[in-house]
Every structure is written in C-alpha cells, then in structure tokens.
Point group: C2
Chain length 227, copies 2
C-alpha cells in the first residue's frame, strides 16, 4: 500500500542545505504494523510527513495505494488525508481555543457527518483513550499526556485505513502507554495498516517489523522473529 | 531548599472542580537529585510549576531557600525565576520566530549580560546538548528531539542552582537521552539541585531519590538503595 523509491527531502537555510532524507526505498503492505526508530534528527518525522501527504519530497517517488502521489492535485490529496490517513503529530497540533471534543470532531466535520453522529463518534474515540471525563477541557487545561491522547483520538475518529503515529506515547506513563498500544493492536487486528515512530523498544515490540533510520537513510529493516 | 506543606491546586471549570494537587508535603535538600513519576494526569507538571514559581497554589505553603514564596512580590519572584531556577517545559515553549541561539540567549538578556558574553554562553549551552550545528535554525526547522534539547540548553544557560525538568527526554532516542543525562549528572556533581519529572525508569535511575504521585498526592517517597 506504500511504496517509495529514492525519496529525498532537503531544506535550504540560507547558505546551508540540510539533507533530512537522503534516498529512502521502502515498501509497506496492507495490514502491516511497522515501527520506525532512529536517533534524534535522523529523519523520522520528515519521512512520516511525506508518507502522510503533509509535505512533498525534493526528489524520488511515492506511491500510495498504487497511485503516484506527486501526480495528484490538492483536492485529491486533501481527500486522501481526511479519509484514508490518521496522523498523530509529535507536537500534537491541537486547536488551542476549543475543547478536546471539538478537536476530535474536526475530521468528521470535514467528512460531512451530521452533528449527532459526529458527537457520538468523537465521544467514543475520547473514551477509548481514557479521556471521557476531559471532553470539555481546552488543550491548555490538559496534562501533556492528555493532550497526546486527544491527538490520538482525533487521528482514529475517522476510522482511517492507514495510521501514522509520531511518538504517540512519549508523554505517557507505562500503564497508559499500554492502554493506547492495546487500542492500536485492536485496530491492527481489524485490518489497519500502522506506521509508528518511537524511541522506546517496549513500544516498538508491539509491531511486527522494525525499520531504523540513521542520517536520512534506512539502516536496518527486519521482521521481528518473536511473535 | 524546597519545603511544601499541604500544597493544593484546584481548577474551576464551569460546574467542575479539578483537584490537580490534593495536599502535597515535600522536603528537598540542597544538591539532591530527585525523580518524580506518576500516571498521566496525576499532577506532576502542576507540582513542578508551583515549585518553579510559575503558578500559585490554591492553598498550602511553599518555602524556597527559607522564604515563604506567597509573601514575595512579582519582581522578587521574577528575579528568583531568572537567577535561581532553570525550567525545562514539557511542551518546550520556545519562541517560534527566532533562532535556537536567540532562544537560549533570552535568560541572559534578562539577566543583563553583555552581547559578546551572552553569545558565547548560549553557544556553549547548545554545544553541550549536541546542537552546535543547529544554532541558526528556528524551532519549526528542528526535529522534536532537537527542540527539546534547545529547551534544556535555555534552562541551563544561566547556571541556575535549581533545575526543574518536565520530561526532558520524552522525544529523545536512548543514546541522546544518555548524553543529556550525563550533562545533568555533571551539574549535580557540581552542586546543582535537580527535580526531574519522567515516565521512564531508566531516566529515573540517574536520581538518588524517587517520589511518585497518584491523583494529586504523594504515593511513595524513597531513596534509591542502589548507588
Ligand atoms: N524546515 C526545516 N528546515 C531545516 N532543517 C530542518 C527542517 N525540518 C527539519 N529539519 C532538520 O532535518 C533533520 C530531520 O528532522 P526530523 O524531524 O525528521 O527528525 P526526527 O528523526 O523526527 O527527530 P526526533 O527524533 O528528534 O523527532 C533534523 O536534523 C532537523 O534539524
Ligand atoms: N488549567 C487547567 N484547568 C483544568 N484542569 C487542568 C488544568 N491544567 C491541568 N488540569 C488537569 O489537572 C490534572 C493534572 O495535570 P498535570 O499536567 O499536572 O498532570 P501530569 O501528571 O503532568 O500528567 P502528564 O504525565 O500527562 O504530563 C490533569 O488531569 C489535567 O486535566
Ligand atoms: Mg521527530
Ligand atoms: Mg505533565
């Protein structure tokens, strides 16, 4: 479902060129559960943003569900992002001036769902991440781990077929992390394809394949031999 | 150096009262290295913000260096925050429109240092966290872990006697986390008092005492028996 060939991303900053991705070849099948690890600054978020159609590569090709993404127009990209892809950002990116519930409703508003159904689906998503009693809070009235879970609920509320999660448990204690990973395992059992960037081996262990990045290239790519 | 008695913090949200801290008694001596752990939402950031004079308690008392903090006026509080306390925020709180270097210089500008000395001290702080080659980047041109390290550099640049760090390694791979913790161990060896909130046992293991919170109260408070 995901295929990249020699994917590169470079940033020009004045006289400096930062080569965040230096040629990534990656192939992910439907219903895989892939963990991505690597040092700080190795290009993980950059790669995830390209996969999630949030950014465009400097060069190289990317096919999503068989379609070459650089050939799609903005409307098609927006529709794919809204319907097929759920994204949990490393910095959450919640709207600060509205409630957790409304933040989670946003993808459903975009998808055109009627209000009653939106409400119920958003409430269910918040309940699944343990935040049933925090729905009316604004982001600045939530703890770091609570904000991170709102970001997860928002990514899942539209029941996307592809979930991209950038360090979704960085602000969670181990018990809450396990709850969130159980949600992801449940989704994976029901057919979801999941790419998860993490710094923690315990979290990576939930996946069935581990890709490591270093300096903008893939260093290792292994299926786990232990169930 | 830190003494709290029955510290409470409550938030009023419409009809709801959130009791974030429900009576915390804590005593921290000079040069201690204390880790604080606990479930998401248990009150760790709330407690750290009170200790760092960034917020005021609903009730209870807090003495810092022998002075009752609620008796201090705003100027004295601001001076304490700038000179004595370094704070690493869970959400970094960097100024988005300026460089990493300038972000780290801010406490030194406030302290009235001349430009040349400010520059050198800020560069040294960024170098200590491995970001010598990222000084001219703005926060949105940095990875999650790089932003987290800029926040650490800014907290240390004024050489405060008390460092409060709210999950300073949540976005770092293990090798980079070890580098950052080595910086903290070095500071501790030179007399620094450190309170560090973390969700990771490996990081808490660097401290010599562990306090755990649950539902706004201290659940356990133990010195580590293993060196
Ligand atoms: N807009 C930008 N301009 C310049 N450089 C950038 C920009 N965005 C990211 N970078 C650089 O590209 C590199 C890769 O960034 P990326 O965010 O992908 O790293 P990462 O692997 O996600 O790191 P972390 O684990 O710290 O989150 C970093 O060194 C960063 O400084
Ligand atoms: N301004 C606020 N208004 C209402 N409730 C708040 C506010 N700020 C925090 N809270 C609530 O207080 C509780 C404690 O928050 P705090 O940020 O201290 O938790 P924490 O232990 O740091 O959690 P985490 O590990 O997730 O960062 C949370 O349940 C949160 O929802
Ligand atoms: Mg990242
Ligand atoms: Mg917190």
């Amino acid at each position: 479902v995901i295929l990249t060939r020699d994917l590169k991303k470079e940033y020009e900053l004045g006289a400096e060129t930062v080569r965040a991705l230096r040629g990534v070849d990656m192939q992910i099948e439907k219903n895989e559960f892939v963990a991505i690890m690597g040092p700080s600054g190795s290009g993980k978020s950059t790669l995830l943003n390209l996969i999630g159609c949030l950014d465009t590569p400097t060069s190289g090709q990317y096919w999503l569900g068989g379609e070459e993404v650089s050939q799609l127009d903005d409307n098609e990209l927006a529709r794919i992002r809204n319907r097929q892809i759920g994204f949990v950002f490393q910095t959450f990116n919640l709207l600060p001036r509205t409630t957790a519930l409304h933040n989670v409703e946003l993808p459903l508003i975009y998808a055109g769902l009627p209000a009653k159904q939106r409400h119920e689906q958003a409430k269910a998503a918040l309940d699944a991440v343990g935040l049933a009693d925090r729905m009316t809070h604004h982001p600045n009235e939530l703890s770091g781990g609570e904000r991170q879970r709102v970001a997860m609920a928002r990514a899942l509320v539209n029941q996307p077929s592809l979930l991209l999660a950038d360090e979704p448990t960085g602000n969670l204690d181990s018990a809450t992390s396990r709850e969130i990973m159980d949600v992801l395992v449940g989704l994976h059992d029901r057919g979801e394809t999941i790419l998860l960037v993490t710094h923690e081996r315990d979290i990576a262990a939930y996946s069935d394949r581990l890709i490591t990045l270093r300096d903008g290239v893939i260093e290792t790519d292994q299926r786990h031999t232990i169930g």
